[in-house]
Amino acid sequence: MYINAAIAISPQDTFLKDQIADEVIEHNGIMKTILPDFKEYFKPIDLRRMSRIIKSGTTTALECLKEAGIEKPDAIITGTGLGCLEDTESFLNKMIDNNEGLLTPTAFIQSTHNTIGGHVALTVQCNEYNVAYVHKTISFETALLDAVLMLGEGKAENILVGGIDEMTQENYELKKRVNLWKKEPFSNLNTYKSDSEGCIPGEGATFFNVTKTRKANSYAEIKMVELVHKYENIDDFKKLIENRINNSGITINDIDLVLFGYNGDDNGDAYYDLLKDSIFSKSGHAYYKHLCGEYDTAPAFALWLAVKIFKTGKAPDNIFIKKPEGEIKNILIYNQDINKNHAFMLLSK
């Protein structure tokens, strides 16, 4: 499976860009996305009615199709952890505050997890396969795996795959109480310097166009998407991952760079070390969540970053834990959620 287009709206200046600037944009508290001017993408009524996530998701999806030179994909597959959170909260709050009175349907209609996939289908008039995966931190990787399956079935030639999540002030305050986020507003520039619980919340909308066959504009080949819900024995887990990589067409020693999902949370980061210092010890090491923050579909941002490293042949220095020597040809993206939902995406230039 080949990636031909990648568009991201993120907390960095990434929309329609090919690279991350060397200077990281600083955020304190929620790492909010830097939004383009949506006026050229939506009618005034939709601009007013639609939430940030719907506008961001739809815009990245449409630009992605444009970059790939495709009018209508053969399938639209999305991943989102909490879906359209702002609309969900809006309807929930009004319902509780007004004691179920004076409610209007817009927020309810737009609250479903498949709103963006449905809206993109509607916009480009795509009647084909359309699904939204909603399994926490593997929502995007399940969507990407579905695309691999679908191309393998010969049912599609080109697919739009995306990961979309938004963070709200309300959710931020709520999750602070269970130590999911850092207690105090914390700069993303210090993401990995903390020795405390919690991480820095982020958000983003990222879409890719993937095809079965290699095109002139293909940047990367997806060699493997592997999901491991949980493991009992770390040695068996290492063996399993090593075997899967070795069966993908390259060997574990060919991996030039591993992009780890380190997020500064003491509870989770140690589980990355277990693989970093063992089966991946010979590869280069990098992290990326200081750029996008932590959110369920953050691995989609990592994939965007990897694709852009291939496309431009350059990587920003701020991502490296251990910079590899020579050209980066194979990148592995590894994300997990406090030792659950381990997800691997392996791609080659």
């Binding site: 209007t104 926490k136 079935e153």
Partner: protein, 398 residues
Amino acid sequence: MQFDKDKKVFVTGIGIISAIGTNAKETLSSLEHKKHGISQISHIKTIHKDELKVGEIKLTNAEIKERLNLQGDNTYPRTTLLAIHAAKEAYEDAGLKRNDGFKTGVILGTTVGGMDKSEVVYKNIGEDLSFIDSHHCGYTTERVADFLGAHDFVSSLSTACSSGVNAILLGARLIKHGILDRAIVGGTDALSKFTINGFRTLMILHTEHSCPFDKNRKGLNLGEGAGIIVLESEKSLNGKKVYCELTGYANNNDAFHQTASSPDGLGPYLSMKNALEMSGLKPCEIDYINVHGTGTDNNDVTEGLAMIKLFDGKVPKFSSTKAFTGHALGGAGGIESVFSILAIEHDMIFPNLNFKEAIPEINLIPVTETIKNAGVKNVMTNSFGFGGNDSTLIFSKV
């Protein structure tokens, strides 16, 4: 990983809990004897209590927990409890055992995840903050996977009211790709104040008992429940009882409106057509369609038009069973898949309750009395949802 399109996918276990029964046996008896489960709301504190009718499961959360021996745990939303209840039945029905060497996964669909619990504690947060975790749609799937010890693939999806069917569809595909030998799949949703009020703002809730496919239909009754089935490849069967084979599936998008169907039902037509093509069956070989049939103005006409187009006017026997259960949203596709499997297993077609007069635009008459010895070999079931999501499954007698 090698896709084998000819690899057969069998149903070996079924589990169901809805307003008409807490297991497959009770459910079949209710369907056969036209015993519906529509009543007033009793578990949810809502100001709409007296003006709406719903398909509610009368067991309280505490009672469900007791049945599942989960007394010590107070954190599960009802959506999760219903799923575990149905999954346990399906798992035992299929005679599965933990760690038997076959790759077993769990994939579930839901619309609002743990909302039934979140909405109660949201503005009244005390010490129990567990709803933050249980709100996620993936939470239920993980609890079911843990309960059954099935961890080889665990994921969740949400395509609104077609979620349950799409979970079954993914399970079948993972088996055909050899990623799993066996998939525990389906849908679950509990009634919630959030969805009751949401559907109410759309003005598609009937205040009385719904009457799908009737000229005077006035909307749907919401419902709740879970329908979960075990899919297996030939490899893990070992001579065990097989209910039927999943011979066709399709997912298409109507691409018309977030909540309304296109005037001619293009999405429903495509999903039925593609599922039929995949099954290799002729249109006349479909013996029964368990339609989506919500009882809303829009759905029943467009689904009817799509059936007329696909079957060239010769629409097979069909019924909506939503007047029995209410519309259980993400649970509906799982529940109605179990109904379809029961139709094949017991050679029976279930009635469409409350039908009096055909809708003039389509002039289609559903089955209104239980038909026994109906010669049911192939059953089609539809589930359509917000976002234009239309999905169809076909189950066939082996």
